[in-house]
Amino acid sequence: MSCDPVQKLIPLYVEGDLPARSTERVRGHLESCLPCRSLLEGYRVSQRALHAVRPPEIRGATLDDFRRKVWRRISEVRPRSALGRQIDRAWIALRQWASQPAVAALAVFAVVGGSFVLSRATGPGGRGELHAPSAGGLRGLPEDFELIRPDEGSEERDGEDAPEMMLAQASFDDGLEAGEPAAPESAGEDAGEDAALRIEIQTRDPNVRIIWFTPTEDHAAGVED
């Protein structure tokens, strides 16, 4: 055993906090290593100084005053009702029961297994069907809101097994065409003029995103460029 790992273990060795096997290995190294023995002696001195710190002696008057304050505080606190006390006891019992390793393992298994089953039933690529919402079914969106399927607006996705994906975005009369990729924020002045605000809503399904552009002042006033 070299000096480096031994020196890392000496703070624990000095107070006997190491497991028996590690203790033997460190002891064996210390017998033949003067620098490590010197370090150990330094820790012994430091620990002696730490142990020599006396417990703070608190005056009797301080404690009497302390006790009075505690009772004053207790009298200010509304006592727990009988029902509340029963709930507390039941909650503690439940926590203790749930903290048993077997119960905890079962709970983890149930959560992981349940998540897996749910993901198989409803997730992308799963057996369950993915129902695309209709535009009419989305409330609170502007009238010119459209739902676009990728196979209508772009040709990027192919393959029969690919999960069905929905894109959604708002379009303006003279703005972006439905299905046209959204302009990046740093696309230039034109993009900034056409769309004062661009809202993208990612639904719970990672393949469905709602993109919403609000009209600029010019659009709102019906001014043509």
Partner: protein
């Protein structure tokens, strides 16, 4: 009062029971059960029994008397509020230590200010050093205590709590882990780091070869 004396004698003030022990001693169990039933005198006996130790432990964790008294008050308020949830076959001392550590944690969050040990002694909140004919020796002891107190301030909250419980309160690593709600491995790591920091701080002050002024 005789009951209180008996409890203190049997429990050693605040002692974590040996693993072989089955919960608190008979006298303490009797007082706890009476307090759980709403007997104010019994709860007062618990305060008298444990207040010195609770304040002392909180002082070591927090580093100053005012915060320690505040935290100790919280401990007894919570003890009064939740004593009915304590099962007499549990380890009462470990339960109380857990309340202390949590109250200290809350107090430190509220008041991050620290008062040094020297300030503490000047304010007279704590008793003066033991009488000694050797003034120089007393001064050295006080200085060493000041160095350790300052070194403790360099530790993180978790390191300090682990070190206080293990090295100053003398609990086993497994007991400390149980009280802090972490694993023994984590506690060993915290203690290892804390001891190394204490030594490094003390070595640095000693190397500078001057009297320590916190």
């Amino acid at each position: 009062v005789s009951n209180v004396v008996e409890i203190v004698r049997l429990t050693g003030g605040l002692r974590v029971a040996d693993p072989a022990d089955e919960g608190p001693s008979t006298s303490l169990r009797f007082v706890i059960e009476r307090a759980q039933a709403g007997d104010a005198a019994a709860f007062d006996q618990l305060i008298v029994c444990f207040q010195r130790k609770v304040v002392s432990t909180a002082w070591r964790v927090l580093g100053n008397q005012d915060d320690a008294l505040d935290a100790a008050q919280e401990v007894f308020i919570k003890l009064h509020r939740y004593l009915h949830t304590f099962r007499v076959d549990q380890d009462f001392s470990a339960w109380l230590y857990r309340l202390i550590v949590n109250a200290c944690h809350d107090t430190r969050k509220r008041r991050p200010r620290h008062i040094s040990l020297e300030e503490e002694r000047e304010r007279g909140g704590l008793d003066t050093l033991r009488s000694s004919d050797d003034v120089e020796a007393s001064a050295m002891v006080a200085e060493d205590e000041s160095i350790i107190a300052a070194a403790l301030e360099t530790l993180s909250q978790k390191e300090r709590a682990a070190l206080v419980l293990r090295d100053l309160e003398g609990l086993a690593t497994e007991e400390v882990a149980k009280i802090l709600g972490s694993s023994a491995t984590t506690v060993r790591s915290q203690i290892c780091s804390a001891r190394a920091k204490i030594k490094q701080f003390r070595d640095r002050v000693m190397r500078e070869g001057r009297r320590f002024r916190p």
